[in-house]
């Protein structure tokens, strides 16, 4: 992708949508729809985007959006794909769009069922790491140590962030990848690659949320970049559940996690001992990822 090649005609996101200023999810869906459109149908479950999609008679996207209940994303997507096929519309790309809640928690069963059946669509989880639409409550995607409105200071999120990519890998799906908004070229490449593959595909997109994370609305891209550069959110892909590959790696040493945490109010009163614990966890996961990548390197 070259910026000068971008043109407004290919954009599928309408202006005037009501996402918060600086919303990472708005940007993620902008990139997603632009890369995969225009013959695109989106299945959308309860999440911030349910609201960003707009209130009828308005719509924020230039493709059909089918809303569905919270736990049902994976299943409704299966139905839409099969229904479109029955109607002869095999060329329409089906994307199931869910937040972290609708993927990691209440939506996990449907995700797992669909993945196991190798349903032929792309499941995109845009992850703002909590139930942001309902006011920033903890989800299993919330990072360790963060404060939320259901874990307010002196409480904090106790478990580690659920490793959804490993779960997807365990299902042996053809393609799973992480992406984030500060690396649009990387994201677009993965989306287009996913579009060409048949079977169940999964994308995990880190989408910073200024009100939920307690950051300035202008910091969205900066934080997204830091998340990658600290190794907190590595950019990689998994093919067929067995072959790992890093797609975008920070040059030189990883930035210390503290730099990522310090500008977010949700980590503001994080005790040093917990910052260290999280740093260790990130370091450990990073090493494990590198090992997997090394071990599954293809000769081609």
């Amino acid at each position: 992708m070259r910026i000068e090649e971008l043109n407004q005609e290919s954009e599928m996101l309408n202006p005037g949508h009501n996402a918060c200023p600086g919303c990472g999810a708005a940007l993620a869906v902008r990139y997603l729809t632009r890369a995969l459109g225009p013959n695109l149908a989106i299945v959308l479950t309860a999440s911030c985007w349910s609201i960003i999609a707009g209130m009828p008679p308005l719509t924020a996207l230039k493709c059909p959006i089918l809303h569905c209940p919270f736990p049902s994303a994976g299943s409704v997507g299966s139905g839409v794909r099969r229904g479109l096929n029955a109607k002869g519309q095999h060329d329409t790309t089906v994307v199931v769009l869910a937040g972290d809640g609708g993927t990691f928690d209440i939506g996990l069963q449907a995700l797992s069922g669909a993945a196991q059946r190798n349903e032929d669509y792309l499941f995109v989880c845009y992850d703002n790491e909590a139930y942001m639409n309902t006011g920033m409550q903890t989800s299993s995607a919330t990072p360790f140590g963060a404060r939320t409105n259901t874990a307010p200071y002196p409480l904090f999120k106790e478990g580690q962030k659920k490793d959804i990519m490993q779960i997807m890998a365990a299902h042996g799906i053809p393609y799973a990848a992480t992406a984030t908004v500060a690396f649009p070229e990387d994201m677009e490449k993965k989306l287009k690659k996913a579009q060409e593959i048949r079977g169940f595909r999964f994308m995990h997109i880190l989408s910073p949320c200024p009100p939920g994370w307690g950051t300035d609305s202008s910091d969205t891209i900066h934080l997204s970049r830091l998340a990658v550069n600290t190794g907190f959110f590595p950019l990689y892909e998994i093919v067929n559940g067995v072959s790992w590959k890093m797609t975008c790696q920070p040059e030189g040493k990883r930035t210390p996690l503290k730099e990522y945490l310090q500008n977010q109010r949700r980590f503001k009163q994080m005790e040093d001992i917990r910052i260290e614990a999280l740093q260790e966890e990130v370091d450990h996961d990073w090493e494990a990822l590198l090992e997997k990548i090394e071990a599954t390197k293809c000769s081609d």
Partner: protein, 514 residues
Amino acid sequence: MLPDITTQKPVYAYGTESSAVNKTGEWRFLTPERVPGLSPCRQGCLLDGEVPAWLEAVKREQWEEAWQIMSRNNPFPALTGYTCFHPCTENCNRSELDSGIDIPSVEKAIGLWRLDQYKPGRHRDLLKDEIAVIGSGPAGLSCAYYLNRAGYRVTVYEKSDQIGGMLTLGIPEYRLPRSILNKELNLLKEEGVEFVTGCEIGQDLSLDDLYEKYSEVFLAPGAWKSRKAGIPGEESRGVWNALDFLSEFNSGRQPEVTDPVIVIGGGNAAIDSARSALRMNGINHVTLVYRRSRAEMPAYQPEVEAAENEGVELIFNALPGKIETVDGKISGAEFNYSKTNRQGLAVDKTSSFHKSCGTLIMALGQEQDSSIFSSLEKDVSFYAGGDLVTGPATVSEAIRAGRIAAEAMIARLENLPEPELCLPLEDPVSFEDLYLEASVNLDIKDQQEMPEKEASRCLGCGTCNSCGICYLFCPDMAIDIVDGRYELNMDYCKGCGICYRECPSRALVLKGGK
């Protein structure tokens, strides 16, 4: 059979109208705005040129736009591309990354485009005033260009039989190709400027005469009086002053020069003389002697290096004490060593060396000749610019002077407020100020052949250079692409500040309010 219910519209919630009716710009309490900071190239430019702006236009291949921006401050980019010493390039922030932008090459490209493709036609308006310009050097030509563009009827008076001043007579072909210069001069004529050659003001015509006939007069006769060394033998045959030598050489006439050649001086005229002499038939050895050190040479260092590479011998901290002649023609000179000290220059008369030569060229600088004013009897205030005012300086500075004078004259004639002269006093945007995390236009490393590609390496440094990062990262679709430029759409901008934060050039500020 009951009526076909399937044709009746089902009643469920759906929306097909674009959310664009919702003007989210109402949400803002901070507004991004492009407020240009001072780019270091601009800071260095002798012409007040808006360098990043015309680079950006070239990047978008908008040559006419680039020319419009360029010609606001510099009507002769083809000429300055060759002759200017380009302090802009020395300041370029990109040199801290891979290599600085080759600004001269893009400047030349614009100039050549202008010469080959852009024919605006004559501007001369019979209803507008007539103005006289004295001197057809860069200052005069520039003043003439701007006045003519505004419709005024300009006549340029030139003492010699060729127009161009230093451009023609002072600067050699290898520095400024004749074909380019001639094209430029002819274009001026085509656009309506009239030239009278072989007419010296103060001799053939008086200033008073001019003030009778013309509404305004711009004096730019330059500084042509060559300084003398004041040593015996200076009037001998074979001793040239640099200006005369260069005039002869540049006119195509072969000045009488014998090998070996010694050039005295450390300025650009000295280097020009040395390099020109070396190009002449029969000249194999040229020595340049300067009374101070290399670092103190006023000449443009790349020129000095070029001279050295071409084989010119450089001797520093020496000056001629005596010229030796045989039959009235120079045969050599005696030199003493010198040293810069607190009092100025100390000459060691005790140490000396001898060098023989066939030709000696004195390049000790020029002085203004104020005799032009002696012919003025009326009590008038006048416009003047170029070397006449500053003493020997550069082509670029002269062009600037001509433009400023033209703007002032136009303001006076049309009763407009006087134009502002200075750039605001602020620190230029440094390399550390830039935000290069997004790494977008950094993938093209090192200088490129194609001007569009080279121009695309410019980082903007305080001005928008249409890199598109703001467009890329805007979550609210509040940036429109208009002719390759990225316009902020205030109907939808929520003031999140991402564009401000991510702009590599630091061209945006966030202001309070809507």
